[in-house]
């Protein structure tokens, strides 16, 4: 059941979207988010939706997997829709109702905005392995090193965290199963009882996490890890033609959205 969390999960593949340089993809996601927030009319939303759908098709992600990623946000989405429907002034749908045509339109647009935002950012994590992602981030933030920002330390921490999340999840699963086999019950009971029921999981989990951290530190030191200074990479990232094409398309997309916004379409 813990494995059902797909938030930020990587789905290996061999599509153009997977092959793009992670730097390109990170920049494109930023472009995408800026562009999405320019949409303020139906045409604008239609364009962003079409672009998102095209990207999803390109990366061969099944819509069902996408929806799995959106499911945890369902409460927020429903709440946003409800608030917008009921609290927007305008012409009532029927005389005397508080639901207005404007409210419905706004609700649809807000929901679209959230869904598109999630889908767009998920496209990045679906098609980019955590390691590639942090590598890309480190290279993009390199200029900040001049300002004494510890970029390398930050990204290595991030990639380690990402690397160990699946390990911790499977470990939690294992410990949960072992305690369930001894009759532990995590699903029923009052809130206090359920909180108490977590103890048999948390204690072993922390014990092994600390042990693992210790071992990792020793392993890194014995392989002479000494920070980012003078460290080279096995896989050098290089921008390809396809990256420049993708970036150019991104720029066109952004320009279109700015124009649409100008004319409030």
């Amino acid at each position: 059941m813990l494995k059902d969390i797909t938030l930020g999960q990587y789905f290996p593949g061999n599509t153009v979207a997977h092959k793009l340089d992670p730097r390109t993809k990170i920049i494109l996601v930023i472009v995408y988010i800026v562009a999405l927030f320019q949409a303020n009319g139906w045409i604008g939303y239609a364009v962003v939706t079409a672009v998102t759908a095209a990207c999803m098709a390109l990366s061969k992600i099944k819509p069902s997997n996408m929806f799995k990623g959106i499911r945890p946000m369902l409460v927020i989405i429903v709440l946003t829709a409800a608030l917008n429907i009921f609290y927007t002034q305008g012409t009532p749908v029927r005389p005397g109702w508080i639901i207005t045509w404007e409210g419905i339109a706004r609700a649809v647009q807000m929901v679209l905005r959230i869904v598109l935002l999630i889908s767009g950012t998920f496209l990045l994590t679906y098609t980019t392995s955590p390691i590639a992602l942090t590598d890309g981030l480190e290279l993009l933030m390199n200029p900040l090193k001049k300002l004494k920002v510890p970029v390398h330390e930050m990204t290595i921490m991030m990639s380690m965290a990402l690397r160990f999340i699946p390990t911790l999840i499977s470990e939690t699963d294992k410990i949960m199963s072992a305690q369930k086999a001894r009759g532990a019950d995590f699903e029923t009971g009052s809130l206090v009882q359920r909180a108490k029921a977590l103890l048999p999981i948390l204690v072993p989990l922390f014990v092994s996490a600390f042990k693992r951290a210790d071992e990792l530190a020793v392993a890194m030191e014995s392989r002479c890890y000494h920070g980012g200074e003078g460290r080279t990479r096995m896989k050098q990232l290089r921008m390809q033609t396809r990256d420049y094409i993708a970036l150019a398309l991104g720029a066109v997309f952004l320009a279109v959205m700015f124009v649409l916004k100008r004319y409030a379409l």
Partner: protein, 286 residues
């Protein structure tokens, strides 16, 4: 009474995702009351997946598991109650210890069963005795003990529930030879006293050859062989084909047979090898 039947059991992990993986397929087995069976198979052949179905920790993708003729997944109460009847000790169970004292950790299972204090106390002491956990350790923290001691405490924690079926996933992994023999002896003592059915997953052919009444061989999610040690180890060629080895004594017997020393096919423990060799020498003498 505790007879386990699995009926065309299949399990698929991460169904409908790119990570979909069929771990076991079409496993139909009957493990009768009181049997001492061993489950062997190479890494990733689905042994752990299979045994987690037997106490309803995993639900079958298709197929059924019956305990004494009743489906253990019939409702959520049945799924819970089966945990008391079928005790499952995980691989490296020492990682599941969490209580402040050894005593309370062993008592975790029985207290989840909502037993009386006296009953719990009796069971904890009994389980500790079975597994060779000294009562002097009861007030110590389980986290500060040695790996072998932790392992015993974890096994005691399951035995304290007095399961009618005891399943252990590689109970001797990572222990020294003395520790291995002791743990196995402890398990057999529990079986003798309680008449429980015991299923042990093991990678050690020598252990399996010595103790098992029945050997079930898994290969790539299915059953490759199922029979008495005699039947299984006499087909050593097939065992080697699916990436397993044969007991040392059987290997030796095979090598001797190639050198024209007449030994029967059914030699796979040290004692049997010794007997067979003595017999072969007598045969030569006269």
């Amino acid at each position: 009474m505790a007879e386990i039947i699995t009926d065309k059991l299949c399990h698929v992990y991460s169904k409908d995702t790119p990570f979909e993986k069929t771990a076991i397929r079409d496993i139909s087995l009957t493990i009768p009351q009181g049997q001492l069976a061993a489950l062997i198979g190479h890494t990733g052949s689905g042994k752990s997946t299979f045994i987690q179905h037997l106490n309803a920790l995993l639900q079958p993708t298709t197929g059924r598991v019956l305990l004494d003729g009743e489906d253990i997944n019939r409702d959520k109460y049945a799924r819970r109650d089966v945990k008391w009847k079928v005790g499952l000790v995980f691989q490296y169970p020492e990682y599941q210890l969490f209580e402040e004292t050894v005593y309370r950790d062993i008592a975790f299972g029985p207290s989840n069963m909502k037993l009386s204090k006296d009953e719990i106390d009796e069971r904890v002491r009994e389980a500790a005795a079975f597994t060779g956990v000294d009562e002097a350790l009861f007030e110590r923290s389980p986290l500060e003990l040695s790996g072998g001691q932790k392992r015993r405490i974890a096994i005691a924690g399951v035995i304290a529930m007095r399961p009618e079926v005891l399943i252990l996933d590689e109970p001797t992994a990572g222990l020294d030879p003395a520790g291995r023999t002791q743990i196995l002896d402890n398990i057999f003592r529990y079986r003798e006293k309680s008449g429980a059915t015991v299923l042990i997953v093991s990678h050690s052919m020598d252990d399996v050859a010595r103790f098992a009444e029945r050997i079930i061989v898994f290969d790539d999610g299915g059953i490759a062989m199922d029979g008495t040690p005699d039947e299984v180890f006499s087909r050593s060629q097939k065992l080697v084909e699916i990436g397993l080895n044969v007991p040392k004594a059987a290997e030796l017997a095979l090598a001797l047979r190639r050198r024209n020393i007449p030994l029967p096919e059914s030699v796979f423990t040290h004692e049997q090898l010794l007997d067979a060799l003595l017999k072969a020498r007598e045969g030569k003498a006269c």
